[in-house]
């Protein structure tokens, strides 16, 4: 089983547009959108949901005002500034509560409930390119990587059941918890970057993270013709670090035009940009079997 995770460090470099194109080009795969915070892949793939599951993760503290004596123990002990004074009693700010249970355990009146936290929903869907697993976290919830792990597990189950030999994942920006979770068990990280100071800076950080977990890296430079110096820097970095340069894509409005049509950029006739993407995909496929 191969698992490709498309990431970038910096947001907006073209991860999702390229993942959709690879989903179009790959033969037999399960598609997985691991950006559970601001997912966009569904906008191109128009998934028909066949299964929906609620996602619960951790717990949250809720002070029962009737039983609260206003002693302030919770306020003193909370390290997340989640306890808010209100008159003679206290309440918990749910956006700050990390669900550590300290206030619950130490409240002398046992006035704090600790219900499980409903954080979002995840879905198994059908798309024109095959099965897809995706999710949506509710706004403001902790993006702990647990939902990412749930999606990856389900994608693997579907791939094994359906005889698919590839899981193709759209990752999230950044280098923290959700990205670390998305890299677990990955065969290859495809990092999409752009020749800008932010693109290069963020590529270096996220590629170092992949090195840290010993995950093979391929790099795609999007809008490579925007800045020759930075493109050259990225190429040097790839050579020095042993990353495969899987493609150089021109700055082209075709990406946005395809997005407006709700299509992958390789669908609907051969364009110059589409051919570049097909070429990159061939290189990536070659990497899977080495």
């Amino acid at each position: 089983m191969h698992e490709i995770v498309v990431i970038s460090g910096k947001g907006g470099t073209g991860k999702t547009s390229l993942t959709a194109a690879f989903a179009h080009l790959a033969e037999s795969k399960v598609i997985c959108d691991l950006d559970v915070d601001a997912p966009d892949l569904h906008l191109l793939l128009a998934p028909k949901v066949v299964r929906e599951e609620a996602f619960h993760s951790g717990h949250e503290a809720v002070i029962n005002a009737d039983r609260c004596s206003g002693c302030g123990t919770c306020l003193d002990m909370c390290r997340f500034d989640a306890v808010v004074a209100g008159g003679d009693t206290y309440r918990i700010d749910p956006t700050r509560c990390e669900g550590c249970k300290v206030c619950v355990a130490f409240c002398p009146e046992q006035a704090i409930d600790f219900p499980s936290r409903h954080c979002g929903a995840w879905y198994v869907s059908d798309t024109r390119f095959g099965p897809m697993v995706h999710a949506q976290l509710f706004p403001g919830q902790e993006n702990s990587g647990r939902l990412v792990s749930v999606l990856k597990k389900e994608a693997r189950r579907l791939a094994e059941a359906g005889g698919h030999d590839l899981i193709l994942c759209d990752g999230s920006p950044g280098i923290g918890c959700p990205v670390i979770s998305s890299l677990s068990q990955a065969t290859l990280a495809v990092i999409v970057t752009e020749p800008t100071p932010s693109g290069v800076h963020d590529l270096e950080r996220v590629a170092t993270l992949c090195d840290h977990f010993r995950i093979k890296v391929a790099v795609i430079v999007n809008k490579y013709d925007l800045n020759a110096d930075h493109t050259a820097r990225i190429e040097v970095l790839c050579r020095e670090k042993g990353y495969t340069l899987a493609g150089r894509l021109p700055h082209d409005n075709e990406v946005t035009r395809a997005m407006v049509r709700c299509q992958a950029v390789t669908e609907g006739g051969d364009t110059d940009f589409g051919l570049h993407v097909r070429h990159a995909w061939t290189t990536i496929q070659g990497l899977l079997n080495t």
Binding site: L43, D81, P139, S198, H251
Partner: protein, 289 residues
């Protein structure tokens, strides 16, 4: 006055707008990068760094000679950061949120404090007048909220002391880090692009931030690209579109050189000076409301 620049979708131009506001700001200002996963604001403001502080989190260290393996700590810990197996106790510092529960609950006083490095906080000055504060997560560190908390505490304390306004470059998304980045603000600037991805994530951001009851203003970047749905949405929801940055190749090239957009030409300079005034009056309206 605190202005947070946020977006939902990554790569819509938050940093471009934050950097341009910082150089155009008419009063004392501190520019704060709270996108600690991938901080980029310094690449454009290029501050001279005068202080680098290592930021840590308090995590448990068990004195096994005192531990009776009663399991109180392991039963309390919600993050699987401490485990007791027979006559052995193990800690997993990378899982720890630093709540201090294990230390407080241990009846033997066997749990002391050690630290885990979260990253660094850098303080500097750009152009001789813009105070810059950046959080930078250590590569391999999973949790950004505790580092963000540290940077926010410094930001609030220092800005108050100096009477400076604050410009926050927020992380993308609408989950906990993005929400905490805008929590202190008086005005939220939502930067979007008129594409289907930009629009969808913009609606997520609106949904997430509007319950906070703060004034919001919209900057449309790459105007002329994509479709017009974001404008319809703003009209319907009474959200002011306070600036449009045109989709132009010279703007993309200027950005790719690490230059500040407000300094590309006179028109953009005037546009951002106007944006500073608009944001100040939005914040003032809020004070009077």
């Amino acid at each position: 006055m605190i202005v947070a620049v946020a977006s939902g979708k990554g790569g819509t131009g938050k940093t471009t707008v934050a950097a341009s506001l910082a150089v155009s700001w008419p009063r004392a200002v501190m520019a704060v990068d709270l996108d600690v996963d991938e901080p980029n604001l310094h690449l454009f403001l290029k501050p001279q760094i005068t202080e680098i502080e290592t930021v840590t989190l308090e995590v448990p260290e068990v004195d096994e000679t005192k531990c009776t393996f009663c399991r109180a700590c392991a039963e309390l810990c919600q993050f699987k950061a401490i485990a007791v197996m027979g006559k052995a106790i193990l800690t997993f510092p990378e899982m720890c949120h630093g709540c201090g529960g294990c230390m407080a609950i241990c009846p033997e006083g066997a749990i002391g404090v050690t630290t885990r490095e979260l990253g660094v906080m850098e303080r500097g000055t750009a152009r001789g007048r813009v105070a810059c504060l950046t959080g930078r997560l250590r590569i391999g560190e999973a949790m950004s909220p505790p580092l963000m908390r540290h940077v926010r505490a410094r930001m609030t304390a220092e800005a108050e002391l100096q009477g400076a306004d604050i410009l926050i470059d927020a992380p993308p998304g609408v989950s906990c880090p993005a929400m905490s980045a805008v929590a202190d603000s008086d005005v939220i600037v939502l930067v979007t692009e008129p594409t289907p991805f930009g629009f969808y994530d913009f609606t997520l951001a609106w949904e997430a931030f509007s319950p906070l009851g703060k004034p919001m203003a919209v900057v449309v970047n790459r105007a002329g690209l994509g479709d017009g749905r974001v404008y319809d949405f703003c009209r319907e929801h009474g959200l002011p579109v306070v600036a449009e940055i045109p989709y132009r190749r010279d703007i993309a090239e200027h950005y790719s050189k690490g230059l500040v957009l407000a300094e590309l030409d006179e028109g953009l300079k005037e546009q951002f000076a106007g944006l500073c005034r608009t944001l100040a009056s939005l914040a003032k309206e809020r004070d009077h409301a």
